[in-house]
Symmetry: C2
Subunit: 352 residues, 2 copies
């Protein structure tokens, strides 16, 4: 190792799901939406003023997208923070809020980026084991800590914490920041947003990548008290002033405007999820009830790793982790009804 | 102050140039390109597959944009790192490479984001005073340090360090990482890229925001040894896997492809800069010879702050800093010939 390498930050990066380039595959591995974005987004692309690409985007402290999101959630623009996907929002929030030097708390089975951010920013952390049925026990988050973060619904398990339990955690932790990562909230969960009126230390994080069908546009946001958001903005403006490019800011506005379309595709995904649950059961799978656009399922007899590899032979990609407690589970994204039909034809053959 | 606020990271953020929303102004304050991006970019926008926005972008370790840039610079894809503007690239580079605990070195008058990144990531730094004529003295960068960074051409001064002096700095600092920030290199500078063959510790950073007329797309990149880039990628993948959205990745490829257009607009800007220098001189301005798409000028009699405010009355925006050593200077972006004509009509009236 050369001398300069000694002083390089060394980290173990997050591993995102595979993005196979093969055409015609059934991609149920990264929780993308099976439907395209709103037709308003399509219209906007065609109308986009290409000459304006020479100019920096809107001044980040005052964008039309923030105004739209504020109106949508009935908060002020000062309570909205926008980032490059919820990963950017969460990463900035770790850097901004988790500086107490005390361990932050999150579940042992959860979004696998949390420990990576803690590591890269030198934040101590402690994980709390989910119950046997993969639910979060709110009592685990009441002890002294440097901050709390959990997804609700949790990923990759799909389980939901009820609003009372979320409030119990927020209320007990008013000396630190509590982040509720609601990437999957639009598929039947109850949001913590109403708690913002009571708790200044709560940050609720959302993404356009799942329910708004825009993973390719990289848009995420947070809602929180104006004070919380201003700290977050200060750190963000100390890292990169302009993170959101013109296309994503403009297309994001259109997606928020089309609430009817948004509700329609969420409804369709929930309906397909219900059908998928029934069929998975009939094939001998067990799983916690899912509130996300995915199901976290184990088969009573056939190993998950085997099914995962076999499915690839059918050009079907799902997600599998070789990790303690969950190595016998597959996370299966809810696709279209046709895609789920193809999945079942394959599963029937693999499991028989 | 509430208890939770005590453990929040508190920083003084970077202040970007004004982005007035008023229409019809002459905007010479943020070094944007006065010409639109390549017509290939326009064509691509019209053809973009909107349905694909539902999918995550290309896997970040292997994008077509990296392949294009690698081919363009005749390096391998493993030697290219792509980010959300050069600010993202530089921010990641600070976090990755400047971890020695020893002060990093950069000029006292330079890109004003450097000390902000040092602050947000807790990196000690020392500034080295530019000479009276605003040139960098390479001897200042030969002492023991935790890393070196400087723009070449420097901003906001526009001065260029010759390749021999750049090499002197890189060669003397092989135990640390040296970053040469070439945001403005395409306007007549000599790049440090050829030094990459000899020095594994050198990182050269570029942006699409100036010479490629795409500030609104937020694209920057770095070229360096495969080893250096892999460390940078590990940290990047520990912060946000997918920072580049589909539109910017696709449009960036088109911009790189159209080298004739790129060279044409750079040539036009250089020609306008030469004319602008002559006319500024005739009005009583002095300035170091500029190698950027801007001129850093002081008037012999009239104060910069006064001219700056007066120009706004003519709807002309330039940049001015109330900072030691440079408070009597204006940074004037090179616009179109027509925009510069309007600037001169205004300056003649203001200065008379």
């Amino acid at each position: 190792m050369r001398k300069w390498e000694e002083n390089v930050k060394k980290v173990v990066p997050y591993t995102p799901g595979e993005q196979p380039q093969k055409k015609g595959i059934i991609k149920l591995n990264t929780n993308e939406c099976p439907y395209p974005p709103s037709p308003l987004v399509e219209k906007k692309i065609k109308e986009m003023a290409y000459e304006d690409l020479r100019l920096y985007p809107e001044f980040p402290e005052k964008t039309q997208l923030a105004a739209e999101l504020a109106a949508y959630h009935q908060v002020s623009e000062e309570e909205i923070f926008i980032g490059v996907g919820s990963d950017d929002v969460l990463s900035m929030a770790f850097l901004t809020f988790f500086q107490a030097g005390k361990p932050i708390l999150f579940p042992d089975i959860t979004y696998s980026f949390y420990d990576v951010w803690a590591d890269v920013y030198g934040i101590p952390f402690q994980t709390k084991a989910l119950a046997e049925d993969f639910t979060i026990n709110p009592e685990d988050y009441l002890a002294d800590n440097g901050g709390v973060i959990f997804p609700n619904p949790n990923a990759p398990t799909g389980t939901l914490l009820c609003l009372e339990d979320v409030e119990k955690i927020v209320a007990a932790n008013q000396d630190v920041v509590v982040i509720v990562d609601e990437a999957y909230i639009d598929f039947g969960g109850i949001s913590a947003l109403p708690l913002l009126k009571k708790y200044e230390n709560l940050l609720v994080v959302r993404t356009f990548s799942k329910s708004r069908a825009m993973a390719g546009a990289r848009i995420g946001y947070a809602v929180g008290s104006a004070k919380l958001i201003s700290y977050l903005n200060n750190v963000k403006y100390s890292v990169n002033s302009y993170t959101m490019n013109r296309p994503s800011l403009e297309l994001g506005v259109e997606a928020v405007k089309d609430d009817a379309y948004f509700k329609e595709i969420c409804g369709r995904i929930i309906a397909t999820r219900t059908r998928t649950e029934e069929r998975l059961k009939s094939l001998g799978f067990t799983f916690p009830k899912s509130y996300g656009n995915f199901i976290f399922a184990a088969h009573r007899e056939v190993k998950a790793g085997y099914i995962f590899e076999k499915l690839k032979e059918y050009d079907i990609y799902v997600r599998h982790w070789e990790k303690e407690r969950i190595s016998n589970y597959l996370r299966i994204t809810i696709g279209t009804d046709e895609e789920m039909d193809a999945l079942f034809r394959a599963l029937r053959e693999i499991i028989k």
